[in-house]
């Protein structure tokens, strides 16, 4: 199926964000694991796998639209040095991602590509869930203090 180049470009932009997030989450997860924070490791590892599934959906959609998915491009990673900072940087990445997905959704809408729109909406829903989790961690750290918080993550 011959797709709209504007939509393909928007999807490729989302793909770059996804590929970047896969790596950032993966590295953060394994850093948590290395320090013994098993709970954080498994949560962030799953977030990385989720990102990979999203990337897969986007790749398949671009191919179906007769476009070329750009797997070459990768954004900058924001890697923290300690747990609280890592969660904060993940939150920053997630917020930016959500903004980009919303932009892509409105592109799909103006171009009347409702199937791409629906796919992105599903991705957005999961993004928002993860961001909500990140927000919760942030407020937990604020209320109980980082030491107590990390104690619970072992």
């Amino acid at each position: 199926m011959r797709g709209n180049t504007v939509v393909i470009a928007a999807l490729n932009k989302v793909l770059t964000r996804k590929l970047t997030a896969i790596n950032q989450y993966f590295l953060h997860a394994r850093m948590f694991k290395n320090w013994g924070f098993a709970t954080l490791n498994s949560k962030i590892y799953k977030a990385s796998i989720e990102e990979m599934k999203h990337a897969d959906d986007v790749i398949e959609r671009i191919l179906l639209l007769d476009g070329l998915p750009n797997l070459q491009e990768l954004g900058k990673l924001y890697i923290g040095e300690e747990p609280a900072e890592m969660l904060k940087l993940d939150d920053k990445l997630q917020t930016e991602d959500i903004r980009h997905i919303r932009d892509a959704i409105s592109v799909c809408e103006t171009e009347h590509d409702f199937v791409s729109r629906q796919m992105l909406a599903k991705i957005l829903e999961q993004q928002e869930e993860h961001q909500d989790w990140l927000d919760t961690q942030r407020s937990l750290i604020e209320t109980i203090g980082v030491e107590n918080y990390l104690q619970q993550q072992l």
């Binding site: 900058k76 990673l77 923290g80 040095e81």
Partner: protein, 78 residues
């Protein structure tokens, strides 16, 4: 946090380098190898550098002149 992942350079290391006399991106590249591989970190490194320089009372940053705009003699000689 890590500013340059290829060379494993953190924002704190850049700030320390500024304390020890680094003033330009070239200094950072020479001392810490920042940005010498993929180059994705140069914008971020520049931000960290500028912030560290701005915090120093002994450094005045002069904006780089845009070469496409002809020089204004009035500004130079006034």
């Amino acid at each position: 946090m890590y500013v340059c992942l290829c060379e494993g350079v953190t924002d704190k290391e850049i700030e320390k380098a500024v304390d020890q006399g680094a003033r330009t991106m070239r200094d950072l590249r020479r001392n810490l190898c920042v940005g010498s591989q993929c180059g994705k970190c140069t914008c971020h490194a520049r931000d960290v550098l500028h912030e560290a320089l701005q915090a120093r009372p002994d450094v005045i940053e002069v904006p780089i002149r845009d070469a496409s705009i002809p020089m204004d003699a009035e500004v130079i000689y006034s």
